[in-house]
Subunit: 395 residues, 2 copies
Amino acid sequence: MINEMYKDMTGKGSVIREFFTYANKVAAEIGPENVFNYTIGNPSVPVPQEFTDYMIELLQTKNPVTLHGYSPSLGIDSTRQAVADSLNRRFGMNYTADHIFMTSGAAGAIAHAVRCVVKDGDEVITFAPYFPEYVPYITGTGAKLTIIPADIDTFQINFDEFEKALNKNVQAVLINSPNNPSGIVYSTATIKKLTEILYKKQEEYGHDIYLISDEPYREIVFKGTDSPFICSFYDNSICCYSFSKSVSLPGERIGYVAVNPACKDAKLIVLMCGQISRFTGHNCPPSIIQLGVEKILDMTSDLSIYEKNKEILYKELTRIGYHVVEPGGTFYMFPRSLCPDANEFCWKAAKELNLILVPGDSFNCPGHFRISYCVTTDMVERSIPLFEKLYEMYN
Amino acid sequence: MINEMYKDMTGKGSVIREFFTYANKVAAEIGPENVFNYTIGNPSVPVPQEFTDYMIELLQTKNPVTLHGYSPSLGIDSTRQAVADSLNRRFGMNYTADHIFMTSGAAGAIAHAVRCVVKDGDEVITFAPYFPEYVPYITGTGAKLTIIPADIDTFQINFDEFEKALNKNVQAVLINSPNNPSGIVYSTATIKKLTEILYKKQEEYGHDIYLISDEPYREIVFKGTDSPFICSFYDNSICCYSFSKSVSLPGERIGYVAVNPACKDAKLIVLMCGQISRFTGHNCPPSIIQLGVEKILDMTSDLSIYEKNKEILYKELTRIGYHVVEPGGTFYMFPRSLCPDANEFCWKAAKELNLILVPGDSFNCPGHFRISYCVTTDMVERSIPLFEKLYEMYN
């Protein structure tokens, strides 16, 4: 008999996907230039040319049997070493290859990291607003996901609520900074306060609490933003990275887990990741893509368009009268909705103005909407009058 | 606290891996030409040149933002359609794109297929000898794996034991033909008998029983072998394929699930696969590899070397006196061990002759050993005197 849980889920579409599909439908009817699609976080700038050149070189010069051969289950040795070297060079850490596990993007990284440190019935805490896929990533491990409500004035951490929620069952805290959907980067003060609490609670509870840091937007940070390397503040920290956003390779499903060398079980956790793969059917990211990203570990795509789009949107939306917490990075912005029901608000924008936004309810933060501005600056500029009209409809 | 189950597993190495590591150690000491490494199923012939050429063309000509963009969660539309077309053309089936789900190799395919049709506590049956990773693939879903002992005279299905083991909790039967490690291909008579029993038991139990067919060796079949397309015999059948063996792309982690259109829940099962991915952190095989394999769906690598190696080994080993069931495909052979403890036998061959074999206990079939002959014919020819010496040691 088919599994009823997964069956039931097929009926429940994602709201983001619903708006995205609507945008495509309207674009087909009235032309894409007349639809302002701010729904999807798909990078709009190309991967560095060095990646493409190196991939072609690998295909032209390497023995295909070796090139396409099985990766070791923890990742290709040279790739793991190169990732460690790059992190050490850029963030003053001391990772070795033994601290790195190559994954299928951040999804794979989080799925592995969480399974390493929880068992059925344990608790993982995360902070609203958060990427909605955290729910299946965490519940798929058998753990319970507890959500700390957002501090909607800053989108830093709501520490009062966090301290109230902490209890002995909490084995891991999952954070995402720079944040999807708010665009906010956790400050050094926030990270210090968070890790101080975790150190104190580890002692109080008599067990380790892991900080799992989901960092696909790590390199997409705007000038002047305080953007600490989170794992340097806490021994039991596991960095989950993806090459999807900073180098625009979302479809190639490549990322890694990097376990802090200061964590006493660091190398063991990496070995455990290799075992976990056997249960989920994951088994390594593709060999050629592992080799390809080795060449661009210290690079990013040209990210300047995201900052330019942010500048325009933030300046214009605040001028119009929207309440927006200024993003420090990513290609997202998370203004307040002009009516309490953000879903209603977003459908109004979509249907009356072809301005396609995403309601914050999907990110467990009602009363807000997400703008994904990984789009052309031309589209951003042409959309401003629509944001103006939308504002007028409510004022 | 770290998860004890995965922690304990890190201490338990695979026996295959142990022999493989030993072979490499000895090769480093006395030269690889003096070690006869028959341990690993890593293809030894290159992918068709058309794949390499097309990958280079994609990299040189396609917009990188599109090329490396997110794949839809069920796979790229054109790839799914091309897979369906190829299966229909070659096996007279009537798949559409809606019946295909792209996966990370056969591991990903089996992990998804099983999760679709079981829940915690259900039972899945497979047949010895079998690929040892079936254990985590199945137990990772929460189901119990029941093993039917081998018919060591033919390595077809042991139907007496199968019928004894069947019960109402059995929701799926997992088969692998052409088989790793025996190299045997299930005959039309075997598949007919198996599916007749399943049809009868479905009726008796009042619920569907799924036939999950793991087929990475489907195209590696030697001349004269009866090799039916298994899914054509049974409505509730799910084909799990990998491009690892037939086109030598094991490291690129690409495969698919194809659900028989005659299965009443076929399209629903494919949609469910998309939901299951969210829990395991899998999220699609890489975009560029999906596009790449589209070009070689009806091709194989030059597989003639495997058949040539089989011919030599089968002829020579039977001449010497070994008991071998002649393989119909794959690049494996599974002779009887010359002493009851195949582990002891394989260590003797390794230590005294540098002839590295793998004991059948790993495949739940004691008293046998596996030869992986995806190696050079030169190595095969030079190893025959060693098999001869090994035989003399026991006779």
